[in-house]
Structures are given as C-alpha cells and as structure tokens.
Assembly symmetry: C3
C-alpha cells in the first residue's frame, strides 16, 4: 500500500492526456505528494484541476526530454476499447521511455502479485494472491482482480468490475464497469466486455460481449 | 477521510428516523466518537442499537430546539424512491435547521469534489475527482461516484452501485444497489434505477428502468 | 479491524486445503504476521506461496494434534455450492476442533454484528450494523452484507456480491460473485445464486437462480 514507485526519485513525471482519467491520476499524485513536471496532450486541458499543471505541448513535446530524466504516465482512459491507451504506451515504450506506476493509497495489492510496467491501481481496487499483470494495465476504482488471474498487457478493468479467481485475459482486453467474469474464464486478445456483463464462458479474441449471461454482440473488432 | 463535520462542535445532533439506515448512521457516529442528543421518529425504535438513544418524540419534537443549537441527521433510507428522504429534508431545511454531514472513516472523497449540505457517505464509498453533489445526497456502502459526475439534491446511490465518469443525475434520483450507469449518461429528476440495472442510455425524468441493458418499466412516477 | 482472533495465542493454526482460497488465506495470515503450523490436503500444493508451508498430510493428519493445541482454518472455497466447505467444517467441528477467525485488515465489521465460529472476511469486505452470521461463513473480497442481514451457517458470499439490508440466508447458501440481493429477500437453505444474478423475490431452498431478475434454473439441488 505504498505510494507510487519513484526510482530514481529525481526523474520528472510527465502526464500524457488531459481528460477525466488524467484528472484522477493527477489528484492521486497530489494526494501522495508527488509533483508532476506537466502534461502533454493534443490540446490544453479544460478548466479544472489539470489547468494547474504546466501544459508542455502535444505528444511530440515528450521527446525534448532525455530518456533517463523523465518517466511517463498514461493518462488515457478507455470506455469501449483499449486501442488508444495501448498505442501511446507502445510508441513511447519502444522509444525507450519508462512508464511510472500509480497506486492509490487505498489500493490493495497482495505481496505475491507480479506486475508489469506502468501499472495503475485506483482507489479501493484489489489485486489478490499470485495474480500476474502485464505492462500498461489499468485496474480502475473498486475493481477486483482475484487470486491467480493472468492479465495481459494494456488491459483495462473498469470501475467496480470483478474478475474471479484464475481468469485469463489476453492483451488489450477492456472489462467494462461492474462486469463480472466467472472463475477460470479465458478472454481473448482485444475483446471488449460491456459494462455490467456477466461472463460465464470463454470469449474469443476481438469480440464484444454483453448481457447476463454475456453473449457475442460483435466480432472482428479491430 | 475525516470524521463527520461538526461546526460549531457545541451543537447537538438529532437523528430523524428509527429504521435500518438510522441504525447504520448511529453506529458510524459511535465509531468516530460523536454523541447524539437523541432521535425523533413516529414511534420509538425496535430493540437494538437505537434503543440506547434517548427517544425525543415524533418529528414535532425537533421544533423544541433552537435552530442554532442543533443539527439534524436524515436517518431515512430509500429502497425504491427518494420521496420520504427528500420531504423530511425540505421541511426542516426550509424551517432553517442545518443538516450535518456523516462520513464513514473508510469513505474516500477526492479533495476536488464539491458537496452540498447533509452529505452521507457510507463505509467503503468513493467520490472521485471533480464530482459535484447537491444537498441531502446519500452515497451508500461501497458505492462509486466517478470523476466529473453531477449529482442533484436528494439522490441516493445505493450499496455497491457504480456511476461511471461524467454521469448527470437530476434531483431525487434513486440508483438501486449494484446498478451500473455508463460514462456520460444523464438521468432525469425523480427517476428510479432498479437494483442491478445497467444503464447505457439516458433516462427520462420520473421513469423506472430495470434490467441489462436497462429498459423503461414504468413512467410518470410521482 | 483487528487481525485474526488468536485465543489462546499459543495454539497452532492448521490450514485445510491447498487451492486458490487457501492461498489467499495464507497470504492474509502472512500479512498480519500470524504463523501457520502447516496445511492438510489430499495432495501437496502446486508450486507457489503454499509450498513454503509444511505439508502435514491429508485430513487424517489433523487428528495427530490434540483438540486444545490447534485451531483449524477452512481453506476450501466454493464457486457453485458450499457442500465441500460445509462437510469439512462439520467433520472437525463435531470432533471438537475449533476453527479460527480470519479477518483481512481492510475488512470492516460493525461492532454490533454477531458472528459465529470460523468467520472469514476477505479484503475490502463489509458487514454492516446488527447483522448476524452463523458458523463457517465466508464473506469474500469486496462483498457487502448490509445491516440486519441474517446469514446461516456455511454460507459463502462471493467476491463483490451485495446483500441489501434485512436479507435472510438459510444455511449453506452460495451467493455468486457480483450478485445483488434486494432488501428483505429470503433465500432458502442450500440455494445457489449464480454470479451476477439480481434477486428481487424469495428463493426456495436447494434452488439455483440466475439472471436479471433472477429466475429459477434448477430445483432439488443436493
């Protein structure tokens, strides 16, 4: 339950994005007393908490900072698919920029969990024993990832969703708010679980499922 | 995460109601060490935790106390509509009585949230960045109000419900236990969202919706 | 919000089971600094956190320990019915072995709650005012048991499920992950509530219900 990892502590944090998720992350960092260098986004933020941050320019502005002097924060959320979140991570990760972990002080992450780079765990979230998480994963407010889940890169488990024990999520899966995935279910790469869906059977890759129980609504999602 | 606001601390707290919700509020106040003067309700409470409180009489008994010497606590819950909760608040609010805030020590309210009078946030609830809440709002156990939500007066977000980012609730909306409201959805005044409903489109005022996805079940609710 | 009850503190704790639930319980005990004597299960555990514990043998190995020198921990979970959890508890309870309580430090149990033997409350769970719980009850991660609920022996309320106020559960009920049970609903002995179900009417004993709203899918469950 420590604050966000900051090693080396002298690096500067740059936030990518200027929307709702970026606002939430900024407030977490303020709460734990970690300063941000500024934010990069296509346009300056709308009035609010983010306007107190220096606006550094669009994403190109990141490259004016040496790789070993900054760490990035992926401020893009996702409400229907993780493509934008994944793309911005990949672009800067391949260029060699590290991503910082953000952990709300109330998040509970069991000591036996193995995590990747840039994990974000929001208020009241839980990751239970021996779960494994890839890079660029977002476990949103009050979401539960039960014991022995295996979560691929770029997955987003939205607010209040529950993954029961032993679930497997391929890369880039979006689990909508309040959705429930039953014990041991496997979800293929790029699948989207609609908000409130209850998933009791495996989900093929790049498929949208919704409802109780969840059924396929769309296939071949890009 | 402070205890209930008590300014001026010398005022006395009077609880309105003697049912389940009143019991929960009383136990929160006991936990944080804030004494109650007593309770007002049509009938004395059934045996239990509330019988340890002085029974002051029915609601008329409030008026034996000067406006500036007491603060009230709305002890009425709601399981299908917020009318009774709203009426008792309006009656005493219009007479000039202030209502106290009740905040369970485990509730998380982001610093950038703007709240109205008499807010009640129960165990494990969360109100995220830049949300705005009106007067007499009840955010029940484990409920989540995400960033930038706009919650009207007298709304009740029941246990375990999740409002995603940017939702708008008109006054007097009841969001049932475990319901999920998708990002950006607008819910009209006096609407009732049934327990477990998943709301993905806007809801007209004074309408009952239920199911996954939520559909209109009744209109013209009083 | 204390750690697990350990009276007398000199007794040794033996874990029954070697699966996912046993792993979660073991990690909670490690977190709060309570050592385990070892585990009993039909087979030694798979590689992971549990292999650090001494493997004592199958369940018969318990009986090599005097009744007053050990306390047991029911490490069996349930994903569709509570029979196995109930049977192992009954067997050793009738032989006179006591079961220890396990309480995650983040679990919130209102002081007015009455609990039975061997209660397990996992991370982020909540049991609200004046609820009553029988023996061998498991309230899993993030589950909510609201005020005045009455929960029979051997019940399992799975991760993220919400029981509204005044619900009654007979013995051996399994409430699936993310399910919601409306205020005042009564659920008969041995019933199974499927994951994500929303229960708005009473459920007969030994019945499986599922869906929103929940409907009977199977009767005469053993």
């Amino acid at each position: 339950m420590a604050g966000p990892t900051t090693s080396p502590p002298s690096t500067n944090l740059i936030l990518l994005g200027a929307g709702g998720h970026a606002t939430v992350l900024t407030e977490i960092l303020q709460t734990v007393g970690t300063p941000l260098l500024g934010l990069c986004a296509p346009h300056p933020p709308a009035p609010g908490l983010l306007t107190a941050l220096p606006y550094l320019g669009d994403d190109e502005a990141v490259e004016q900072h040496a790789l070993d002097r900054v760490r990035l924060i992926n401020g893009l959320g996702s409400s229907a698919g993780t493509t934008a979140r994944a793309e911005i991570f990949r672009r800067f990760h391949e260029a060699g920029y590290p991503f910082a972990e953000i952990r709300h002080p109330s998040a509970i992450i069991s000591p036996s969990v193995r995590i990747g780079e840039g994990l974000q765990t929001l208020a009241g979230s839980l990751i239970n024993s021996e779960a494994r998480l890839g890079d660029n994963v977002l476990i949103n407010s009050h979401a539960v990832v039960e014991h022995h889940c295996d979560i691929g890169n770029h997955c987003h488990v939205a607010s209040g969703a529950v993954l029961c024990g032993d679930c497997q999520l391929g890369p880039g899966v979006h689990v909508g708010a309040g959705a429930v995935v039953k014990q041991g279910v496997r979800i293929g790469a790029g699948a989207v679980i609609a908000a409130g869906a209850v998933v009791i059977t495996d989900v093929p890759p790049h498929t949208l499922v919704a409802g109780v129980p969840a059924r396929i609504k769309r296939e071949n999602l890009r």
